[in-house]
């Protein structure tokens, strides 16, 4: 009788949330734990809600770009590309070739920067702080290049309907050509530092498995989906911009565990370097902007369109509705992080509490985009 009472257990609720050192951004979740195991998870989002979609309805078409920078604030160029393509398709204009190349180069460099951010944060989640410093050293190189291009390190506001704000700075191509081997070397170094580390492997291999069917059912995209073995990439399945002409692989994982999600991103960085290299070799001279009618105001033809791009975090979609006014009638954002986050429940089920943070980290969420 006494032993039975001593063994009675209760589920405990643990708040992992804003102002907790181990979470990403301002994502809060209440974990229900049974001993060491996670029995359930209730996510709370919205701490970073700024009403992006409503704000967009009150700004002029091109001004909205500054808010797009602030949705997924680690992959700004990719977001801008998505919106600029949407406006261009509604207007029926094509950006000049140089602008297309510059856009792809910047978008791919942005992918490297973003995955570096993931690499550093994921290392810290697993308990290794050194990768964080390495990743930021590598990031800094490219951030300074972005600063030279757009004048800002984070909120670039550089892509416009029909091209770019201004031409790439003088000597950009040479500078980048010089830099690429160093970037490649940095990626290799990061790889050496962490990938074969036994401690890292034991924390990530087989942890937070997500089956391919489940990943598809939850609407996952990007590296999370590819780590589960689904070869799906918007750059391939619905090619945009220059991607049909470029030669690159889409790395996929096998098991859909945390390690695969890490590995896929590392492999993607290498592919990005390849893409940048190809674009640099072909970067033409010429105009950077197709003139669009701007007087008395920049307007977009009435119509609606859905555009999506492959962001570092997945399938970033924008649904734009124009009624022919100076402002968008509606901007709807299909956020990859939000959908990826949905898969957190099945991944966390029955995992160890200590792994919960690793699993969350492997999703690489950006709350600016989840909450928008």
């Amino acid at each position: 009788m006494t032993t039975e009472r001593a063994l009675r257990t209760v589920d405990m609720h643990i708040n992992v949330g804003p102002q907790h050192p181990a979470t990403h951004g301002v994502f809060r979740m209440v974990l229900e734990v049974d001993g060491e195991r996670v029995a359930g998870c209730t996510p709370y989002i919205g701490y970073l809600h700024r009403g992006f979609e409503k704000l967009a309805e009150n700004e002029e078409w091109q001004e909205v770009i500054i808010h797009l920078d602030r949705t997924d604030y680690i992959s700004q160029f990719n977001n801008e590309l998505c919106y600029a393509m949407g406006m261009e398709r509604l207007l029926g204009v094509e950006p000049p070739e140089r602008a297309e190349y510059a856009r792809v180069i910047l978008a791919e460099l942005n992918r490297i920067v973003s995955h570096m951010m993931f690499y550093g944060a994921f290392g810290a989640d697993v308990g290794a702080l050194t990768p964080f410093l390495y990743a930021f050293r590598e990031r800094e190189r490219l951030q300074r290049l972005f600063e030279a291009v757009s004048g800002a390190r984070l909120m670039h506001f550089y892509f416009r309907a029909g091209g770019l704000k201004e031409d790439l700075p003088e000597g950009f191509a040479d500078e980048l050509r010089r830099m690429l081997p160093a970037v490649q070397h940095g990626i290799d170094e990061c790889d050496r530092l962490l990938t074969q580390n036994e401690v890292f492997l034991s924390r990530t291999v087989g942890v937070g498995k997500l089956a391919a069917s489940e990943a598809i059912a939850y609407g996952c995209s990007g590296p999370v989906l590819r780590a589960s073995g689904v070869r799906e990439d918007v750059r391939r399945s619905d090619p945009y911009s220059l991607y049909p002409t470029l030669d690159f692989d889409v790395p996929v994982g096998k098991n859909g565990d945390c390690f695969d999600r890490y590995w896929v991103r590392l492999a993607e960085m290498r592919e990005s370097v390849r893409i940048v290299q190809q674009c640099l070799d072909r970067l033409p001279e010429g105009p950077i902007r197709t003139p669009v009618p701007r007087y008395p105001h920049f307007r977009v033809e009435p119509g609606e369109i859905y555009v999506h791009t492959e962001n570092p975090r997945g399938d970033y979609g924008l649904y734009l509705v124009s009624k022919g006014g100076v402002q968008p009638y509606r901007v709807k954002l299909r956020s990859p992080c939000f959908c990826n986050l949905m898969a957190l429940g099945p991944m966390l089920r029955d995992s160890y509490l200590a792994d919960a943070v690793v699993i969350l980290g492997s999703l690489d969420i950006v709350l600016g985009e989840v909450d928008r």
Binding site: E63, A148, R192, L194
Partner: protein
């Protein structure tokens, strides 16, 4: 064990590398020429008055609403010294709210405003409202530093 050692070798190698960080307030990394800090107002040395006519276009476009502009009749226009009918009377930017987006620069029809390299707003007071003299000073400092002339190629790009 081998993997851990490999990682350690990588870590050790960096011991002989020059540091990439600088001690910030004492040392600073150079800013890129295009760097966008806070906007400043340019001074037309030829007519000895600001370029800005106080037309309020930038104020209406500013996404954070951190600007305040007032217009007045230009006294120099009456005497024929200047071609500007109107001139800025008051111009304030609340730098605490400015997000350095450069929209004001791009919409200005008179090339009167530019993004300066001034970006440090940490101070002892929360009141970070820059008035006309500060804004002129920011732009003058910026141009002295970068060697840029008034006139901005990126105007009217929205």
């Amino acid at each position: 064990m081998l993997g851990v050692l490999k990682g350690l070798v990588t870590t050790w190698k960096t011991h002989w590398r020059a540091p990439v960080t600088v001690q910030y307030p004492d040392e600073r990394l150079p800013l890129q020429p295009r760097y966008m800090g806070f906007p400043g107002l340019m001074w037309d040395a030829e007519h000895d008055e600001p370029f800005c006519t106080g037309c309020q276009v930038c104020m209406r476009y500013c996404p954070t609403g951190c600007m305040f502009v007032e217009m007045k009749d230009n006294p120099k226009f009456a005497t024929g010294e200047s071609k500007r009918r109107k001139i800025v009377a008051d111009f304030t930017i609340n730098l605490s709210r400015c997000i350095s987006c450069s929209i004001c620069v791009e919409v200005c029809n008179f090339e009167a405003i530019e993004m300066t390299h001034h970006h440090e707003r940490a101070g002892y007071y929360p009141d970070q409202v820059a008035g006309l003299p500060t804004l002129f000073q920011m732009s003058a400092d910026h141009r002295a530093g970068v060697g840029q002339k008034p006139g901005h190629e990126t105007r009217n790009l929205l």
